[in-house]
Subunit: 329 residues, 2 copies
């Protein structure tokens, strides 16, 4: 295993320390918890997200003005516990309530729900939005229903803008639920990630193979093939999204190309170019584009493609608005 | 070779197309040239950089308000030709002159110098600043003198702020030359990058080995060892920088941890944590920190550590100032 670490048991704590030191102007660690907080408290609904570590910059990189109030960092690929989530809620609420943005994995759903109940017992208003954007498979290793992946960061950004505008908890919950319906993702993996505690790649894949639909924890996808060109990968992924969306030439769409960790930006931009071609072929309007490593799977090589169908231009503005976070450019 | 590409001969053109599409609000391609231009022209000295491709987001990701006016993208790991550089100069000059920021490689130095001469023959004022921050080795495969690496992006950012303030070409040249003296970098590679045209890793390295001082084109470093902990790597690299700097407890320093392409952010933050410890041991003041993939070597795993010794707080402010570019967070 080739990693720049000290001890596989302490990677999350050391990462949080490094992160909070690097971005001390924007964030701070909640003492005794694996929680990254906005330094300057919000005067609006607090958005909170989190989950297993290993997906950096998600989610701590999106803590700051205009996005999240806090992120909870679980062990690698493991949900944070309810007590950690509860402390994040208590530290972030400023009386406007807290919205939890949760990726759809059984452990996360259970633990965030439990924290919600505990917080409500302390008279904090809490709602949650569940993100299940990965259309690759219906159920998966750690999931009942579809997995939550890169589309989650678009939810952070759009709801973050709405929260900053002063929308109420109820409005954010309603808008968030509706938004998730219009965000869909599918990916392709070229290599498997290596979890530090495990010390070897999470699955075997040949030197000339790739797999469509792999999850961000290495969950199996839907098809394995000899490695294809970028154009062929784009054709496959867009065709899957096309089935899921029923694309409409009168609607505006946004595209997120997300690197899974070890794939260079050069390849991500080449892939975007091919995705654009496929969407152009269907005469679709792309009104927003984002490229980079936003929801990774440690050192996995590959990309995911997220498409969002916009309902209003307000959503595009919300994505383009400037924020003050460590990792959103 | 596992890459998301179509044809190894067209990776640069396809990347530029994807890049300019993704960031159409900020940049545009100069027609018929591998040049990425700021969309909104400067009303001050234009900073231009570039070099071989494969180091993304450098340099095109730093084109925009507050940093570069243009970036020239050569073939992978190959200097752009003088005619390409000349066109970037002509397209960027708004009468205030042009400052070239050049990494110290023989091909780049020669071609940027030739472009400078050609531009001067067309009555454009041009100066250049040479960056040679890599302290690993004195001369190298493609270099007489020290190589230019990740410290280059700090030069883009600081001089970019000064240019936006309206400083003259002569002032920028003087300040740039002085700045380069106080920026030093050294890295460690865990794997070698694979150039698409070559199809296999640029050098052999064992499964349990790492190499200190490897260049961003895979140039040999100064020491190969069995892979160590992050803390030991930090100790080694800080000790080399310590020799080069003669650290001073009355001075403020800045730190850039730069991922070389395939190394997850998690490891970069853990490494920062260890670097901080080493600098704390020497009672040094770290006044600025940056972490992420800024000057990569395709899919190489590893990190580089850049330290800048600040002469004034104005330099820290220049690094912290908000800019409008695709890749500077």
């Amino acid at each position: 295993m080739k990693k720049i670490i000290n001890d596989s048991g302490t990677v999350v704590d050391e990462m949080i320390d490094g992160f909070c030191f690097a971005h001390a102007n924007q964030v701070e660690k909640l003492t005794d918890f694996r929680v990254v907080l906005r330094k300057k408290k919000t005067d609006h609904v607090a958005l909170i997200s989190g989950g297993g570590s290993g997906h950096e910059p998600a989610h701590a990189g999106f803590v700051g003005d205009g996005m999240l109030a806090a992120a909870i960092c679980g062990e690698v690929f493991t949900s944070p516990t309810p007590d950690q989530i509860l402390e994040a809620i208590k530290a972030s609420d400023t009386g406007h309530g807290v919205l939890l943005i949760v990726k759809n994995y059984t452990g996360d759903v259970m633990n965030f729900d439990m924290a919600k109940e505990l917080a409500e017992m302390e008279d904090i208003k809490v709602e949650s939005v569940l993100v299940d954007d990965d259309i690759a498979v219906e159920d998966s290793t750690y999931t009942a229903g579809k997995r939550g992946v890169a589309g989650t960061v678009l939810v952070h950004k759009i709801l973050g803008a709405y929260a900053r505008q002063g929308k109420t908890l109820e409005e954010l919950k309603t808008r968030g639920d509706a938004l998730v319906e219009r965000i869909k993702t599918i990916g392709v993996a070229l290599t498997a990630a290596t979890v530090p505690e495990v010390g070897k790649p999470g699955f075997e894949i040949g030197n000339d193979e790739m797999e469509y639909g792999v999850g961000i924890h290495g969950e199996p996808g839907y098809k394995r093939e000899a490695i294809k060109t970028s154009a062929e990968m784009a054709k496959e992924l867009v065709s899957k999204l096309s089935e899921a969306f029923s694309f409409n030439q009168d609607q505006k769409y946004g595209v997120l190309i997300n690197g899974l960790g070890a794939t260079p930006l050069m390849e991500q931009y080449i892939f975007l170019n091919d995705v654009k071609q496929e969407l152009d072929n269907q005469a679709l309007t792309i009104a927003y584009t984002k490229v980079g490593n936003y929801m990774t799977s440690l050192d996995m090589a590959g990309v995911s493609l997220t498409v969002i169908a916009f309902e209003t231009d307000e959503e595009i503005d919300a994505l383009e608005e400037t924020v003050d976070t460590p990792s959103w450019t």
